[in-house]
Symmetry: C2
Subunit: 433 residues, 2 copies
């Protein structure tokens, strides 16, 4: 085999056990909470036909879809999924027999041909952990998804997170109010960037999109005021769609109170827009206000028209997506990640032919007692095996040397304080657990 320079694809990462053990834990926390709220798992393939994906996210996002070199130019052209919402909607459209309301979670990698920004937790290949409910318009579900967000981030001990809440109907009403009703898609795609770039840049982009200057000015004045829900209700009193959106936000907040989500963790924010085309109602996004350089920990909202776009029945839908990579990056930067190198509890040493059978039997015994056990595979010097165990932070080492074999005992060393005891096989499992 010819020698190749080993390297990872730009914007993609390897995860060693010190990361993976935490990532597995975070996924398990989410999985348990999703199930607790009545959601069941589904999966869709990473590869979708290209036309299934395009035309739902908006032009900017469509350009970021990774295409395969597969039947290019035909209707069978294929690509990697950009998110899990569109594939899930495609799946629902193919399963009219589903018992509605249908609640599902889905945790898989997605791919975006974006400029990677690792410090902000932005990669080309990353996990999304989605939780969605289809088949109901009830704002109770929108509130439950916010409660799920709150519970996951609380269990992970992430401090000071803020779940921002808005509604696309309010944004559509604002577009109408400023006199740019037919350009609402351009407007929210630009507003969405406000937490990354300055107003001047957003303004320039809106001008380029030919939004009239008067409308841009009115928009700025409305957004920069950071209006409360009540003030906005008054300001937009003649805009029917905005009133509808405000009523939905009020309803969501009333349920959050019953579900005991503390008010310090959520907030109505009229400048929250979300970048994707498919949202139609509630939109949410979670930030760490004290760490603005870390991107959103999650985001989502209602997308009532998406499933029908696949020819399915008009099916209301709402969902959020937790970003595993963002959450993990945030936890690292907040020093919430304790160093861990292995899930192994015990290393059983190897001291050559004489004691091999007894040692291997000990290994089998420990495993039969559900203790994560590694056997050192070579007859190396004790010092080398000890140093391996120490470097890997394995808490215990078991030794059966010649003397232990004669006495029918096992030496158990606690690595942390180097204390050692001599035990019989019957006592060893209890000493470790």
């Amino acid at each position: 085999m010819s020698k190749i320079k080993p390297r990872t694809f730009k914007g993609a990462r390897d995860f060693l056990p010190e990361d993976m053990l935490h990532r597995e834990r975070i996924l398990q926390v989410m999985r348990d909470i999703f199930k607790k709220y009545g959601f069941d798992p589904v999966e869709t393939p990473a590869i979708e036909y290209l036309d299934v994906l395009t035309g739902k996210y908006g032009e900017e996002a469509d350009r970021l879809i990774y295409r395969l070199n597969y039947k290019n130019g035909t209707k069978d052209e294929a690509a990697l999924h950009y998110d899990l919402t569109v594939p899930f909607s495609r799946m629902v459209a193919m399963h009219p027999e589903l018992n509605l309301p249908f609640r599902r979670y889905q945790m898989q990698p997605v791919w975006r041909a974006d400029r990677p920004q690792p410090h902000q937790g932005r990669f080309r290949e990353f996990y999304q952990c989605d939780v969605d409910c289809i088949g109901t318009d009830s704002m109770i579900v929108d509130a439950e998804l916010i409660a799920i967000t709150h519970e996951i981030l609380s269990v992970l001990k992430i401090p000071g997170f803020l779940i921002k809440i808005n509604n696309r109907k309010i944004l559509n009403g604002i577009s109408e109010y400023i006199g740019a009703g037919d350009q609402f898609s351009d407007i929210y795609t630009s507003i969405d960037k406000l937490d990354k770039v300055t107003w001047t840049e957003v303004e320039a982009e809106l001008k380029e999109k030919k939004v009239p200057s008067s409308a841009i000015e009115k928009l700025h004045s409305l957004i920069s005021k950071e209006l409360t829900l009540d003030a906005l209700k008054n300001e937009l009193k003649n805009i029917e769609i905005a009133q509808h959106g405000i009523k939905e936000v009020e309803e969501v907040i009333s349920y959050l109170k019953i579900l005991n989500v503390p008010e310090s963790h959520y907030k109505f924010d009229v400048s929250l827009a979300r970048g994707l085309d498919y949202y139609t109602g509630t939109i949410v996004e979670t930030k760490l206000p004290a760490y603005p350089h870390i991107g959103s920990l999650n985001g989502g909202g209602r997308y009532n028209g998406l499933i029908a776009s696949f020819g399915g029945k008009d099916t209301p839908a709402v969902g959020i997506s937790m970003g595993l990579d963002r959450i993990f990056t945030a936890m690292q930067q907040l020093n919430l990640i304790e160093e861990v190198k292995t899930a192994t509890k015990v290393l059983v040493g190897n001291f050559g032919k004489e004691t091999l059978e007894a040692s291997l039997k000990l290994v089998a015994y420990l495993r039969a007692n559900n203790i994560n056990t590694e056997f050192y595979p070579e007859d190396a010097k004790l010092k080398k095996q000890f140093s391996y165990c120490d470097k890997k932070n394995i808490p215990y080492m078991c030794i059966i040397g010649e003397s232990e074999l004669q006495e029918n005992k096992i030496s158990l060393k606690k690595m942390k304080d180097s204390t050692q005891v001599s035990l019989s096989l019957e006592d060893i499992a209890a000493a470790i657990l």
Copy 2:
């Protein structure tokens, strides 16, 4: 949005909860057993640079690699990983600081542009669950991987599986013995197909590869005898590399005995070849002899040269890959998959504004007690909610109607036998658990 025909990519699949709940359980069984044997998790990206993947598997497999439409023709050309072994070897070559021996497991989808054969559990996108150890030549690890295979399939209650064991050194010795020593790669790629096609087809393929007729004849006579290890040792007594391979198989089997792997579940098989180029020693593959149409449940072996091919140090390595999809297909066909539709334990009914707050508080209370609880989001007729609960096989339904609200009680209905009890909030969790 324009209407698009919803469809899944050929050879890829959607998984609804009735499949996913089982798939999650199988993955968890594997994860727990991998950890019990001292293996820790890693992940590598799905996307790799193309040159990282090609030239390791052999020509036939290289053609099955899915390429991205990304910088085609440059050294940055990218592709989807074909297995997890080559990406893992690439990762190891990039991490010379790893504490050896290093044991890892890795469970991710892989992609192959193959002809899908769903009934045999052969897809274009499927999960591999790999478990590998690098940095030691010790046959103890080869035996531990077989013990892992045995334990996983036993816990999953799969009956009658057979782990076939061979060694590439024996196959190389056979190539030498039959006078085709420089064509060993052609020979084992063809032999590998013997469990799918007849000898006549293999013979034709070997002829096409210009293996001399006399060699083909000798090969057939040797393989068709189904020789025992001892008989083969005698037959190949002058072939040094074959003797070395036989000694390794004997050693592995001696450890399997100590590790209590029942002899009925493994067998030396000289016709086991494995299709990939990178193997150098032990090779294994697990079959269900009673169900020959179901493909291998796992496969693997030693690949001592692969890591060095990335410029890393010469690092011995051995691993096996459990096929989640094959195992799941096998369990379905063996009727080992009990019907399950949800992980939800309780549906709390919704009977309108009057009782909404009390019902939602009950939902929050049940979840706080770690009971998977779904709230019916709409104020529908009791019959409709009841039928939803029944269809989804949720075991319990909780009802707070007007009379329950007045009496400060909750009606708990056991769906299986339609029995109903009236309980206070304090007693409800215990009644469900």
